[in-house]
């Protein structure tokens, strides 16, 4: 079986929760949700998942706990959680914006607002998912820091951005000054393509590996159990 681009994205997202232990996986968006459920069904069986509302549920939907927003916020602050958020803009140090584009006082484009990005980034590991990698998203400087990046995180003892996943590859901050590094490209993507779509100088190692292949079992779980309607392909061009 040959994996599609959206399936490599699912694998790359799932890997964010490898060895995470007994914590809450909070995926925002479809591909991260498929990834979190895949991780739960394979290599991270102790993960907690929600129904997207107020219940903690097993992969088959059976409720196993109650997590209304007020308790969710306590869990965030307690740190036993790894969230994968979206990003309208993200910069080289991992500052993320979902609030607005342009001048905050009178934005060109009003978006969601900061939501829980500040509390997430200061309290539990926060990764990001970007379905359309472009210079409009990967910018030199975000217009509004919602999710806190490494250059704003001095003294923030619980701050960590494990990875950024896009439709082109996987990125991390494993560099001396925590600037963004290309960790892998998805098969079919070139390093030049990633550079071209990124609005800042990305750290690119001499050898860039490909995002790993899904196993036969993982592909079966994605295609037959978790996302049989193939909604994932609508979020990412195959």
């Amino acid at each position: 079986m040959t994996a599609t681009r959206s399936e490599y994205c699912v694998i790359a997202c799932a890997e964010a929760w490898r060895d995470a232990g007994e914590i809450l996986a909070s995926p925002m968006g479809l591909i991260p949700s498929v990834g979190a459920r895949l991780a739960r069904l394979t290599f991270s069986p102790d993960l907690l998942l929600t129904d997207g509302e107020a219940l903690l549920v097993r992969p088959d939907g059976t409720p196993e706990g109650w997590l209304p927003y007020r308790r969710h916020l306590t869990l965030v602050t307690g740190g036993r959680r790894h969230v994968m958020m979206g990003a309208s803009q993200i910069d080289r140090y991992g500052n993320q914006n979902i609030s607005c584009i342009g001048d905050w006082a009178r934005p060109k484009r009003q978006l969601l607002g900061v939501r829980g990005a500040p509390v997430n980034t200061l309290n539990n590991p926060t990764s990001y998912w970007v379905p359309r990698h472009s210079r409009r998203v990967f910018v030199e400087k975000v217009d509004m820091v919602c999710g806190v990046g490494y250059d704003h995180a001095d003294g923030a003892r619980h701050h960590r951005i494990p990875r950024v996943v896009s439709d082109l590859g996987v990125f991390d901050f494993a560099t001396p000054d925590h600037s963004m590094r290309l960790a892998s490209v998805h098969p079919g993507v070139t390093v030049a393509q990633v550079r071209e779509a990124t609005g800042f100088d990305l750290v690119v190692p001499d050898e860039v590996p490909y995002t790993r292949e899904p196993t036969e079992r993982e592909l079966r779980l994605i295609r037959e159990v978790i996302d049989p309607q193939n909604a994932r392909s609508r979020e990412v061009d195959a």
Binding site: A54, Y69, R70, S99, W104, L112, V114, V119, N123
Partner: protein, 273 residues
Amino acid sequence: MSDKTMTADEVVSRLHSGMTLGIGGWGSRRKPMALLRALLRSPVTDLTIVSYGGPDVGMLAAAGRVRKLVTAFVTLDSIPLEPHYRAAREAGAFELMEIDEAMFMWGLHAAANRLPFLPVRAGIGSDVMRVNPGLRTVTSPYDDQETFVAMPALGMDAALVHVNRADRLGNGQYLGPDPYFDDLFCEAADAAYVSCERIVDTAELTKEAPPQSLLLKRHSVTGVVEAPGGAHFTSCVPDYGRDEAVQREYATTPWPEFAARYLGGGLHDRDPE
């Protein structure tokens, strides 16, 4: 014991222009829409709104009633971006205090506990501090010496919330999976008005639901309004889900047209503008 039942219009008669008004629910979920419709039919304006924002914020913004908004987001949930809120923000129509979801919650807790602030880790390092120059920090007096945002109390003149059931005294019950923050809104406000799907006898409240579903206690409730469908078009599970068709209509119809339809036609007669 006092019967607190009143009509939505009686609630609105107790509200004034310039007030700070808290609105319960979350996004497009269990918003006190019947009370809001009554508010929108009144001339009350120049409001400071405190809300986990949904169509409540969008409607008040579209009608030009907002002087200042305190929020972490505004969304219709199934439609991520609230079109009327967007338009108002992009026109610079009102002042905004944009804070994180947790900062917002601790602001409510501080007010409910009559504390001037509560320390919260969220906000440090983010532009929430830049766009709210009035926010102060506080350093732990203990060995860790960590610096926190001193989230100021979000006190309110009045709060509007909607729940599934209530008795005539103001004991309010939620039957869905999430209480949101409605109890905190009531406790953080000088006056709190609760609409409900159905007013029942006190004994009915615990007949089919456990006592922990009794979210609102009567000492923090000023008035009770029976308003079946009173959260429509937002969700009010288990009584009903969100009316996606009407929400779509709301999101795609010019406000004056939608308002004429949705508010029963009286809007323009009574609007001071």
